[in-house]
């Protein structure tokens, strides 16, 4: 095992081992942030195409690091590190701190592991570990709201996993080898398998019809948990798509489907988000919207294989950008009350506007990276580009609504330790600095006027619409309020009604054989009793001498008769 391979295996292993050690040591939970170091080291130091292979473990574990997974790993590592440091401060006096950190580390291991996985089975293993461990994070506060969110999240996670499992097994059987490279290249365009994979990962990536758990889980989970959930974990779905959806003409249908779902998600996220009251729910809807954009990008990449590499690079950058920005926003919301207004303005303002695509920030670069390949090719993607721009405008409106919700509460409680402020500010700084250290050339290109304008007009439009909206609502005084988890709220109500309806029918619920079995049992016992009495009576009767003697004579005659008849009398 070369150093690279050992380092690579350490990426998921470090948090796992720490999670196992945690319950034993008293204050060991304070070491959680250290678990991220191997991942950071791997991102920065390990060359591309580092391979690790453990033939003995599971069904033969294979790990690999390539540009795509490096990007995802960067985002995940930074975000998990920041959240871990934040959590040290946030949950210091929580009675179940050890339990939280164990599940936190397990989820981290799952997330980091699936990023570096190079084998379908390994990917699925870490995916399952991440989703089940994150259940522990969502339910941590054990409030009614948390339990409700947990049951929804757990149900959808398990369903998603099973869909993924079926899709994977179909693909692996077809290709005959679970390694991801071969799956992507050689997997036959089996509609069922791919749609199962899309749905399975879509549940995690918050694709529109399957997004129900997101707005419920984020407000319920503790801040570091929801930061990581929104920043890193839902990205796993996207990564899965990148690895598992085979390219090629036959996949055009899936591509368009993804595109449509993505755009719908983008729009739905914005519309539902604006109507929210709580900042974290709003951010959740913003994640749905952003993931929608990324899904659309994914759809385009699948639909037009020639755009594949460029779009993938764009998606990777978009993931990093969104991860860091969304993480900063969540952490900021967490301590909004303990921080003075100017710090808050800086710490939240910059990442939120970055998300909206403010020029000179990672947002603008992400959106332009996404758009340039579309403009370059001959296919007319103008409609798509327009919709994307409008979505960006929508995000701007959303972000302003978010700032309106958060800023008034600034500085109310005071205090707030540096351990919580530092990671938040660090992430916030990433928004402006990221384009420069990612790809300086492209960053310069962004400064050209044409590019500036294409980035700026959606922002200005958004600001205009936001101001108009703000003025309108102030006068009309109407409180339009969409309940969190929109569709789920409807489903739940319908479900409860259905259960009561069923419960009212007495027939159905009494166990079908209930009385039948009881009656049958009683009848049997009675029958047995009478049978026994009758037999004893017959026995006593047969014991009488006359009956015995008569039987003897009769028996002689019967036997003789049979003999006579038999031998042809």
């Amino acid at each position: 095992m070369s150093i690279g391979a050992t380092a690579l295996t350490l990426v998921p292993l470090a948090p796992l081992l720490l999670a196992l050690v945690l319950p034993a040591g008293k204050g060991a939970w304070r070491l959680t942030p250290l678990a991220v170091l191997p991942a950071l080291g791997a991102v920065l130091l390990l060359p591309d195409a580092t391979r690790a292979h453990l033939p003995e473990v599971l069904l033969g574990v294979r790990l690999a690091l390539d540009p795509v997974s490096r990007g995802f790993l960067l985002a995940a590592a930074l975000l998990w590190g920041a959240a871990a440091v934040y959590a040290r401060g946030d949950l210091r006096d929580d009675p179940h701190v050890v339990r939280f950190h164990v599940f936190f580390l397990l989820a981290m291991a799952g997330n980091l592991g699936l990023v570096v996985a190079a084998d379908a089975v390994v990917f699925y293993t870490f995916f399952a570990l991440m989703s089940l461990a994150s259940v522990g994070l969502v339910v941590h506060r054990c409030t009614a709201e948390a339990w409700r969110a947990t049951w929804v999240y757990l149900g959808m996670a398990v369903l998603g996993e099973l869909c993924l499992f079926t899709g994977l097994i179909l693909q692996v059987h077809a290709v005959g080898d679970p390694s991801l490279e071969r799956l992507v290249l050689e997997a036959p365009p089996d509609g069922l398998a791919v749609s199962l994979i899309v749905v399975g990962l879509g549940a995690k990536a918050g694709m529109v019809p399957l997004h129900l758990w997101l707005p419920l889980a984020h407000p319920a989970a503790p801040t570091p948990a929801s930061a990581v959930l929104s920043g890193a974990m839902i990205k796993a779905g996207l990564l899965g798509w990148l690895y598992l959806i085979p390219r090629g003409e036959a996949m055009a249908g899936v591509g368009t489907w993804l595109l449509v779902a993505g755009l719908a998600g983008a729009w739905f996220g914005v519309l539902a988000g604006v109507l929210q009251q709580r900042p974290k729910t709003l951010l959740a809807y913003s994640s749905i919207s952003q993931m929608g954009l990324m899904t659309a990008g994914m759809g385009l990449a699948v639909q037009a294989p020639e755009l594949g590499p460029a779009l993938t690079a764009a998606l990777v950058f978009y993931v990093v950008h969104h991860g860091l920005a969304k993480g900063a926003l969540f952490l900021g919301t967490g301590i909004a009350r303990q921080v003075s207004l100017p710090w808050l303005l800086l710490g939240l303002g910059v990442p939120s506007l970055a998300l909206a695509g403010l020029p000179l920030t990672s947002g603008a670069m992400a959106k332009s990276l996404l758009k340039t390949p579309l403009e370059a090719t001959q296919g007319d993607y103008s409609a798509v580009l327009l919709l994307m721009a409008l979505a960006a405008a929508g995000t701007a409106v959303l972000m302003l609504r978010f700032l309106a919700l958060v800023l008034p509460g600034a500085g109310r409680d005071g205090g707030g330790s540096w351990a919580m402020r530092l990671p938040w500010l660090l992430l916030a700084l990433a928004a402006p600095l990221l384009p420069w250290c990612w790809d300086p050339a492209a960053a310069w290109a962004l400064l050209s006027p044409g590019k500036l304008w294409t980035a700026a007009w959606p922002l200005l439009l958004g600001v205009g619409v936001a101001l108009a909206g703000f003025l309108l609502f102030r006068r009309v005084r109407v409180r339009v309020h969409l309940p969190e988890g929109d569709l789920w709220w409807l489903l739940e109500r319908a479900g409860r009604a259905g259960v009561q309806a069923v419960a009212r029918q007495p027939v159905l619920w009494r166990s079908p054989g209930g009385t039948l079995y009881a009656r049958l049992g009683a009848w049997l016992v009675r029958g047995w009793g009478t049978l026994q009495d009758r037999a004893l009576e017959a026995e006593r009767h047969m014991r009488r001498w006359e009956v015995l003697g008569g039987g003897f004579t009769a028996w002689i005659l019967i036997l003789f008769g049979v003999l006579w008849w038999g031998l042809g009398g």
Partner: protein, 223 residues
């Protein structure tokens, strides 16, 4: 079922059985049976009368078992318990006793003759034994006080004597004669006679004891 219809049914069935038996016996062939070969082999038996030859030579084993049956009957009755004092109503008056005083010696004499005559004519151990037993029974009835029978051991030996002698002679046949229950050649008449006398005495004693119906002595435990 009250007895009425049951006996009718049983009667009908028995009648049917009778018919069957008659029809079965009707067409059985007439045959000499074994009498020819018995006559042929009489020479070796040393006994003139064929029945006695069959009884004590050809089918000697049957007779051994038959005497064993009598002995077992006595043992069985003894195991049922003690006999009460006999007879329930003793015969009073001198006639019985006077008559018996002459009759019993005569009966003993005839019995002895019957045993002796068995060799040549009809007679033999069982007939002689029966007559002796009859005299024994009459004697027991006439003198009703506790019969002064010999001690228990004596009784037991007496009863077992017949079978024991016959078995001993049978076993002697193994080395000397032609196998088990076979008499060494030339000795058969003498041996048959001894067997007959021993058998007669045992049978007589057994029948009298059977008449008493139980152990004629007090055992250790039945106080």
């Amino acid at each position: 079922m009250n007895p009425r219809p049951l006996s009718l049914l049983s009667g009908g069935l028995s009648a049917l059985l009778a018919l069957l038996l008659v029809s079965a016996l009707w067409d059985t062939p007439v045959h000499e049976g074994v009498s020819a070969s018995v006559a042929g082999a009489m020479g070796h038996t040393g006994v003139a009368h064929p029945v006695t030859a069959v009884l004590l030579d050809f089918r000697a084993y049957d007779t051994l078992l038959e005497m064993a049956v009598v002995l077992l009957a006595v043992l069985a009755t003894w195991s049922l318990g003690r006999c009460d004092t006999l007879p329930a109503r003793p015969v009073q008056g001198p006639v019985m006793r006077g008559g018996l005083r002459h009759l019993i010696p005569l009966a003993v004499l005839t019995g002895g003759y019957l045993i002796w005559a068995g060799g040549a004519g009809s007679g033999g151990a069982f007939q002689g034994g029966a007559v002796l037993a009859a005299s024994g029974v009459m004697w027991v009835l006439a003198w009703p006080r506790r019969p002064d029978l010999p001690a228990p051991l004596g009784l037991r030996v007496g009863v077992t004597l017949g079978v024991a002698v016959f078995l001993a002679i049978g076993v002697a046949g193994l080395p000397l004669g032609p196998g088990f229950m076979g008499y060494p050649p030339g000795w058969s008449y003498g041996l048959i006679l001894t067997v007959e006398t021993a058998a007669a005495c045992s049978i007589a004693l057994s029948l009298v004891l059977l008449f008493l119906g139980g152990r004629p002595w007090r055992d250790a435990e039945d106080g």
